[in-house]
Subunit: 211 residues, 2 copies
DNA sequence: TGACTGAATAATTTGTTGATTATTTACCCC
DNA sequence: GGGGTAAATAATCAACAAATTATTCAGTCA
């Protein structure tokens, strides 16, 4: 970790405190700079602008979450199908909670979604690579009947996009969303599993409860 | 058709002209009233407000489109699977074109989506009933392996929500969207079809071109 | 009584001005 | 040159009056 990285982290940390205390719009670059004992202008040596700091915080958050998910999801004890489903349910629940509990987080999500549509795609791409990994494992052990793992991950993500930023795309309750995700996955997995493989029945059992 | 209905239609027609000429925000209730040879106040005897007129136009549009789709989709010559897919592709293409070609239509769509989230759900519900119809036909002739037709329609809609208001949820091109819809449906249909039924292979053939 | 008007009211938008704030730039220090 | 400052500039925001527009309502007409 270079010196520059360390300062970036300091800025991100200070900004995160401010944002989650007072909200994105209500905190000024000067305040963030003060908290880091530097001048406002100096912030621009580390971030292109205010919105990029917010992006940095968001990216760090999903990176951390995905890292944790990666551990769980690599557990070879569970069938790939179950791991994939648990992963998608976990994503739904944790983002829902995150946006639901804190209006200041929601504010940032809304602004980034509006001003930086590309950012959302980058996050989706990160998720997709984890999904591809699970799919590949499932294809290798005969659970799934898949030609192109990357393409399939793309399609599963496309079919479950509604559950990615729940409050941004619909007004549904978490219960309703979980019900729908369950139903969608039931069909998708039925379509993906090798009928001859015994794990196919797992598509019908209820999802694992959140930890 | 009652006298009242006739006047409603006249108002809708006049408003549609204005909206598509000058945009929703730029047209005033007075102008619509003038075009109908009535006073502004009188409009409120037929519609609750300006936004309700816009809703009326939108509802009429989808009703017309769904009616046409219903004819095509009831054609028993095609397998249910093909009919369902053609329907979904047609929806994607026609809404995409509609929103893409005319910024004034897009303006209305955005405003309704924001101010009247329930309206979108009503339209979805209309679409769902047509989908249920196709699914029921497919279940009856042994193409599909479905327990609950209504629930399944809900899940298919959920998995394809991204293609419903394409420009509102993503920035993708029509080509990319069509590619994704095709991929999603391939998996979904693979999950829904009876493996024993010969039509299952249709899930792999390219979608019918638009008329 | 039902269809309508037009003035009254309430909400929203527009235009303007003076802060604030984000961002850039010219410069300093080690 | 890396790391920083502080003043200059450019955007954006808040406030508030003026004007426009949406909506309501008392009252007219057939």
């Amino acid at each position: 970790m270079t010196q520059k990285d360390r300062i970036c982290l300091r800025i991100l940390h200070a900004a995160k405190e401010r944002f989650s205390h007072y909200g994105y719009c209500k905190t000024t670059m000067s305040e963030i700079a003060q908290d880091c004992n530097m001048s406002p202008g100096n912030l621009y040596r580390y971030f292109q602008g205010k919105l990029d700091i917010a992006e940095g915080i968001a990216a760090a958050h999903t990176d951390k979450r995905l890292e944790k998910a990666r551990e769980i999801v690599r557990d070879p004890a569970k069938p790939a199908l179950v791991r994939l489903r648990d992963f998608l349910f976990d994503e739904l629940r944790s983002t829902f909670k995150l946006l639901d509990e804190d209006p200041r987080v929601f504010e940032i999500a809304e602004i980034i979604a509006k001003e930086r549509p590309e950012f959302g795609n980058q996050q989706l791409s990160k998720e997709r690579s984890l999904m591809s990994e699970i799919l590949a494992a499932g294809a290798a052990n005969g659970e799934f009947d898949i030609q192109d793992v990357v393409e399939t991950a793309e399609m599963i993500q496309s079919a479950t996009i509604k559950f990615r930023f729940p409050q941004l795309y619909s007004q549904l309750t978490l219960d309703k969303l979980e019900h729908e995700l369950n139903g969608v996955l039931k069909i998708l997995f039925h379509g993906l599993t090798c009928r001859s493989h015994p794990i196919a029945v797992a598509a019908d059992v209820p999802v694992s409860p959140s930890p």
